[in-house]
Symmetry: C2
Subunit: 312 residues, 2 copies
Amino acid sequence: MKIGLDIMGGDHAPKAIVLGAVEAHKSLNPNEHIVLIGDTSQIYPILNDLDFNPDHFEYIHTDECISMGEHPTKAILQKPNSSIAVGFNLLKENKIQSFASAGNSGAMLVGAVLSVKTIPGIIRPCLSSIVPKIKGGMGLLLDVGANADCKPDTLLQFGILGSLYAENIMGIPNPKVGLMNIGEEDEKGNMLSMATFPLMKETKLFNFIGNIEGRDMFNDKADVIVCDGFTGNIMLKLAESFYVLTIKKGLKDEFFDRFNYEQYGGSPVLGVNAPVVIGHGISNPRAVKNMILQSKEMIVSKLTEKITSAFN
Amino acid sequence: MKIGLDIMGGDHAPKAIVLGAVEAHKSLNPNEHIVLIGDTSQIYPILNDLDFNPDHFEYIHTDECISMGEHPTKAILQKPNSSIAVGFNLLKENKIQSFASAGNSGAMLVGAVLSVKTIPGIIRPCLSSIVPKIKGGMGLLLDVGANADCKPDTLLQFGILGSLYAENIMGIPNPKVGLMNIGEEDEKGNMLSMATFPLMKETKLFNFIGNIEGRDMFNDKADVIVCDGFTGNIMLKLAESFYVLTIKKGLKDEFFDRFNYEQYGGSPVLGVNAPVVIGHGISNPRAVKNMILQSKEMIVSKLTEKITSAFN
């Protein structure tokens, strides 16, 4: 198994990424290899300082880099030698079995769709985010920004994707799927949620528990929260701003600590033909380590195959 | 001036409402009268216990009540003798100059539109909510649920309404208006926000500062945050759940304290031909007092007239 990692992406790249890979290596089995993709000349000094044997990793040298501000599609097409574009080529050719980066999220999404392609039957791949639950454990929110406008059947598919991820990667049996809405009653909502509700109510593809509200994001009503990417992105950023506030104000609490993205790695892209994980821009070594272990889990659990068979 | 107050609405009605009116009375001038609308037989014992002279208030007796769970439109039409229906009739006949209730929000919205009507030129009235800012002071979020689906020109109008409220009632000169979105760049968004952005950018009717994100709800980027009612309702409930969490966990902080709805009264309905305020269901006397003072401010500042002239 080869786990691909872009060492050029993220605010603290390449050092934090390489350090994270070193940490992850300690948790991997001998047949699980990390492939570092990026400017190799920057990797060796970091490993040297750690007195870490470079033979533990594989390397793919690249000499271009997509920065955070670049236009995703243009960057992917105009920088074929960038770590992200090269990573996706390797993934497409199955030279790596997963690809993770804390770099330009848009480029990661576009790269995934252009290279390994969307799984047949899936209308739109989506980006999910792991969210903490007050009583412990984690939930999944999707979409968080890949699809600003959605249709009812797209949301229905997000329910399937989220349910499969929660069950196979997060270890939640028969995950409860809720539709984010402005009231709990069946008939509440905007045009999109009102049209989605009956589709979800009828489906046998996941355990739909009905409409949930903004106040239910962190409680146990739903394990998987489905919404369009506009709503999900705003919710996620609002929640993150609250977490940042509690940190700034020195408020210590176990629940708020679990907002710390470091603990769970990155955001999985769901619905493409290979495991792809997008890390937070500010990823530190711990976050990178967990992003690698998360990628491994997505490979080991055969999530892509399970999603493929659910849609065929 | 006569300030109408429904004493039957809210989880702690009528006692909390009457106690709030007694508190508010102390802050009013002799020509500013509170009109209590509801079951008068329940009012006198409360005033008696307080040794409060009942002559300080005016009374309109009603013998029906719209409960929280009722369907708004049906309830308003089928219960003409309910405190909410009677209140709006008084408002329509200018026997009171404002109307406030902590009761069924939907019935309050429907009642406002059916009785005093929408101000000419306004597509859809909206419900706004006051939100605390980290560095102090307050901002305004709208719409928070009256209009689950919006069009670009409706959002443009919310910008005007919010700006007028912020300037005239909240005392914020030249309020900064932001469009809630999933990125700061001009071209970011869903179809609605992308179509709204150019309208706001061109307008001279308010001080548009551009797109803002979920993380900007509590910072100083914008005084007035415009979004559709689906997004706003979810944001508001998510933020409230965070506030409730900080309370439950015993985290004390001045910023989180300012989430306490008691301090600012209720949510103004903007775009109808009279001041209407909807209180939180759990309103206590302090919240009711502030809802009355807020109603008074909306009358004194001639907000309705200012909105009318802005749209004509």
